[in-house]
């Protein structure tokens, strides 16, 4: 890997960030994590990420709005949605908004790593061609 892919994690439950960050760093990604959506929103305005992992339902901000913001600023960013309020409707809605994949909480660390690796493969494949 020439440069490590950059990942942003947003989830207002600290445990999710604390567990995902080292698990993804272990795979060689460069990871930043946020529990505060306002801060995360500011961050995506400053810089672009290859992959964004976000919860859908958080206290201050609707995850759906956050992912719209991400997609409108950086259409190439792959967004992975993780949520504890998984319904068919939210899943469909997120896919319509161009989400790469949708994972219901609780999930296995391995499942998410696998999805992230697939997203990474897609990004790298596109940049090569």
């Amino acid at each position: 890997m020439e440069r490590p892919l950059k990942i942003l994690i947003l989830d207002d439950e600290p445990i999710v960030c604390k567990r995902l960050q080292p698990a993804l760093e272990k795979l060689g990604y460069e990871v930043e994590s946020f529990t505060d959506s306002v801060e995360a929103t500011r961050r995506i305005q400053e810089t672009s990420y290859d992959i964004v992992i976000t919860d859908l339902k958080m206290k201050e901000i609707d995850g759906m709005r956050f992912l719209e913001e991400v997609k409108s600023r950086h259409p190439k960013t792959e967004v992975i949605v993780i949520t504890g309020f998984a319904t068919m409707e939210t899943a469909k809605q997120s896919f319509r908004k161009g989400v790469f994949d949708f994972i219901a909480k609780p999930f296995k660390l391995g499942e998410l790593q696998e999805v992230v690796n697939r997203a990474a493969a897609k990004i790298l494949g596109e940049s090569e061609s």
């Binding site: 439950e13 567990r19 795979l27 060689g28 609780p106």
Partner: protein, 863 residues
Amino acid sequence: MTVVPRIFRALWNRFKKSRESPVEFSQIFDRFQGVLQNHQRVMELIADLGEKCGGEYIFDRKYLVDVVKELHSLLLHMVQELNFISSNKYLALYHTLDRIISQLEAELRGRLSFDQNTPFALTLEDAPLDRPELIGGKANVLAIISRNLKLPIPPNGLVITTRAYRLFLEVNDLEDRIYSLLESWATGERDEYSTSRQIRYHILAGIIPKEISKEIEQWTGGKGSRKRWAVRSSAYGEDGELSFAGIHESVLNVPSRDVPYAYKRVLASLYSPEALVYRQRMNMLSEEAAMAVIIQEMVHSKVSGVIHTVDISEENPDHLVVYASWGLGRTVVEGRDLVDIFVVEKAPPYNIVQKEIAVKTTSVKPTNAGGEKEEMLPQEERGASTLSDEDIIQLTKWALTLERYFKYPQEIEWAIDQGGQYVILQSRRLLIPKRRDQPGEDITTLCDQYPILFKEVGTVVHSGVGSGVVVKVASGSDMEHFPEGGVLVTKYTAPWLARIVPKASAIIAERGSAAGHFATIAREFRVPTLVGVEGAVENLQDGQVITVDARSRIIYAGRVKELLAYELIQPFPFEGMPEFRLIRRLFRRIAPLHLIDPSSPDFTPEGCQSVHDVVRFIHEKAVEELMDLPGLLQRSSGVHVYTLQSEIPLGLKVLNLGGGIDPKFIDTGKLKPKDIRSVPFRAFWSGLSGPGIWSTEPVLVDFKGIMSSLTRTPSETSGITSSAEFNLAVINQTYMNLHLRLGYHFNLIDTKVEPDSHHNYIYFRFVGGVTDNIRRSRRAKLLEAILSRYHFKVDVKGDLVVARVLHLSEEDMIQRLQMLGRLVGFTRQLDIQLQADEDITNFVGIFMSLNTPTEEGTQWKDH
């Protein structure tokens, strides 16, 4: 005079009427099915919860709240269903449910809840190892060190529990006062110093309730005693899950008369400014704060110090560092003087790679009046080494035992007393500062040089990495020689293996689930464990060194040093996170099963302590009510049952709930075994009707008469038994509930067999007999011996045998049902023949020879 009998009669008639009113069989069976389904769902949730404790899953608080909600609603349904089936015999369960659910809700809110018989004091020898919330983290660790790891700790330890702390607050009316002081700190009205000062003042001025002071006095011998004590903090969360290093107070060399005041000082230190800030930083709720206190005999140490099992300054996980000084431990812990430093390799032969003998000037000594003081060292001790090489190696070995057991680097306080005896004073997680400057590197590429034996196989029971030599265990005798740090490789995760789990550095099993009893034990001891690794027993060789990465589900040949080191210095061991503390506390109130024996006097709604107990109780009682299912069926109308036509004269009635019978079957009144589609029924029947099972070799002539009556069903021999009793199978495609009365034996088999092993179970119950008690209990022992060989969990009480097996694959379940068919056929006559205890072994042999040899043929239940 006539009034009372009249009322009685009226009541009696009403009662009789309600008893006799035609029972809607289908409704009762619906409810029974409801109980079974909800039971199943509860067990699944318990299993899920267990899986989430293992570290492979990411979950949040909401998940825990949802699980508790769902358990509540399932239990409520089960209580309603049982009461419907039993005509409201178990209304007390509503109260039980309230009690248990409110405890779970209290846990979710972070509040400690105790019941009336929770003790105020416990000795370290007797303290339960699974209740850190009661005895505090430090006491819990010390009890584990002493009892599980058999390492020496200071003598005569008593723990004044967190319940005593609650009582102290209550009696002194402090709860609200503390709460409002903390509130004003949270809102910024006052700072942590003034908050702390106020709270500590109130605690030190408080009166120790009699219940507690009595315990302290009895233990220390009161004013007349000359003993000296160490009074140490053991806060809820301290050492066990969070570090809290040095935040709370410990008071050393306390004369017996001063122990009560020292107790209060330690309680007050729960509200030191540092402790307040620390808890806030760790997201602990104020209600989570509680202090247990350890009172131990003072160790007058000649030398004392600290070990770090990872060299932090070099970030070298292959080295550990021993710090030592003369006298009591404050010199090292508080950094009062220069200390000796020894750096040691962590692999045998434990080379000491560096010795720095400092010129020491002071030591801390206990004083006669109590307390400690710093003294100048005599000239000859100043430049001398505090430890010999033997001391260092001994301490190193213990440190490694602690690190392996607790699964992350340890900071260990130790001492050597005047007589030269070593003791461990405490052990806690060593926090390793995370280095920001190192970019993340893919650890898996570092491991590429090691041959991979298995990749992405199996299910994670407990996450983590462990390495050691392969030790295959197939029988109880193999367990005797299991070495410390070996990798346990086994076909099945049978409960009898539990004894060696604490010794194992990792576990690999070919079968088993992340849900069973064994999985709980593996997690309790935090042993990296993979199940479902097909071919492990065949492909791994005894004595071979391997590394099990239960996080990435990879098994490497050799010792993967890089990976072990990487795991050890992970900054966030998942077990320390608040959600993990919470899930484990919930799990302790949900999963353990205390109600094992249905005939015990505790087998009551009041005796239920956990969610598992409640569902166990309801299941047992529902089955008990349904024991009279055939009678129930006869009394109800509109139910169509078939009579099975077969060479085996059982007179078996079959009730199809749907999918159990070939749809092409045309009801001519002659249902044949071949028409039945129910998977468990077919399996059972193929065993029962197999060659040599039913019509066995000629039985002894003397017993012929008896035998003939045994093979006849009671309904055919009217007058002998109630006409309500006949043999009945309630079936669908994947389910069977079978009631068999063979003579005087009563058999119940309730089972589900599906392709998805999560739902599979067999519940087997056997009771009664025609002969004396001794022979009947011999038969029970025989059944136990045979069923254990097939990995059933068997409980025997007199002549009642209850056996269960869960979550095995469809194929394994079918094999067991076939065996049960043979067993039922085989044992129907047995108690007559079991004349001596030796016969048990003989008949086990005969029975096993009837069965095709299976791979588990050599396994015995561990007694």
